[in-house]
Each structure stands twice: as C-alpha cells, then as structure tokens.
Symmetry: C2
Subunit: 138 residues, 2 copies
C-alpha cells in the first residue's frame, strides 16, 4: 500500500508532475484498470473515495498527464476521449457487441508512412479497429 504509493509518486515525479493526492489516485486508477476509460468512468470510480473530487480536476489532470507524456488520448470513440496509460506502440480494437476496447499488437507500422515518401513530422499515430472481438466472435 505505502510501497505502491511510493511507486506512484516516483512515477509522477519522473514525468515532472507534482504528486497531489488527486493525481496519485487518478494515476493509480489508470494503472490498475487497463480498460481505456473515459473521464466519466474515472470520475465515478474515484468520487466515492474522494467525495469533493470535481470532474474539472479529472480533465485538468488528464490534460496534464497527456502533455507530460505520461498517458495517451485515444479518439477511437466518437464524441468522447479515452485515456491509456500504456505508452508503447500498439493498436486498439473496439468491439461493437460488448463495447470493450482492447489492445492489439501491431508491427511494421511506423515505417510505412515514411516508406511511402511522406515527409511530414509524425508526433503520434493511432490504429483503431472496429468489429466483433475474439470473445464475442465464438
């Protein structure tokens, strides 16, 4: 518990983020729940533990995390942003049946666009699939 907290705090410090209690809790939620949650989900899961938590703080915190490079934003859903603590290159699969968003492994992507002679500067890439997931398919 305390040990875990130390890890969270040092993670935040590693990304030059001042470890307020709200930031620690939001980070912990993201680490423990790899479901690419939206703001609403994060907020409603934390508000019981921190009754005065405000949605604005969740937005502010996730904006900060993204700016500092601690998390990624996913635009796989129309009209809502999802957040992902996993930072290495990977894709996402949104199941149209069970609605879950799961990670999928991708290779040989990074090179493709430049291989085709595109000379822009890439800051981020996102690869999203939609369909029926493995669990729902069988």
């Amino acid at each position: 518990m305390i040990d875990n907290n130390v890890n969270l705090v040092s993670k935040l410090k590693e990304f030059s983020i001042k470890p307020s209690i709200q930031r620690i809790e939001i980070l912990e939620y993201l680490m423990d729940n790899r479901i690419h949650p939206n703001v609403e989900t994060i907020y409603s899961n934390l508000v019981d533990k921190m009754p005065t938590l405000s949605k604005a703080t969740v937005y502010n915190t996730l904006d900060l995390f993204a700016k500092k490079g601690l998390t990624n934003r996913l635009y796989i859903e129309p009209n809502e942003v999802r957040y992902d603590i996993r930072k290495d290159a990977h894709g996402h699969f949104k199941c149209e049946k069970c609605k879950k968003i799961e990670d999928v492994e991708i290779y040989n992507i990074e090179t493709d666009i430049s291989k085709n002679g595109y000379n822009g500067i890439i800051h981020a890439e996102e690869i999203n699939y939609r369909g029926i997931c493995e669990a729902c398919a069988k």
Copy 2:
C-alpha cells in the same frame, strides 16, 4: 451539370439510397471537396443554395450514407466526426499547424492484426497520424 447530376443519382441508387435533392447536394459536396469535412462545414456550405436545409438532415443523411457504405466516418478529431467519401483503404494525417486532414497511403496493414493471431472479425480500420504536414514542415 445535368450529366453530373445523373452520375450522383445513379451513385445513390447504386447504394440503395433514394435520391432526394438534399442527398444529391450533400453527395456532390463530398465528391467535390475532399477535405474530410464535419457536419458544420457541410451544412454552412450548402445552406446558401438550399436555405431551408436543416442540420438534422445533414446528420440524417450522413448516418444513412455511412450505414449504406457510401461514406466513412473518421474519428481523428476529438469531439467531432469527419466524413470521407473515399472508400479504399488509406490513412489520415492531421496537421497540428494548418489543421488540415490529408490522405496518406498505407500498405501491409490489413494483414498485421490477423498475422499476430487476432481472431476477431474486423469491420473497419482507421489509421491516424498527427504532426506537422509536409507543406508546413519545410
């Protein structure tokens, strides 16, 4: 003009869409303006020509086009849907400077996810890049 209209009408019929004047105009706009427009852009460009056009009709029409497979929705932007008449597999690059969304060519993607042993059923894929486009980069 009339000839062009015939093409638009037959395109709609080809996708089992009743060719109302609003649908014809929206399709024409998408064909002539390959800029991945949002609803607002489409609406404001057509409302002068059709003063009684309603935004609800634009939404309805684009929903129908997507359902029938005539267009794709792009979720490259947070909090707004973009529409694309180009239907063959390709990716998109959103420039953070000039804000344009341009097409980029992609190869060897389709196979990757199944190559990795993923057994879900893929209905759609979307590959989005963000950064500085070629024009803005130099």
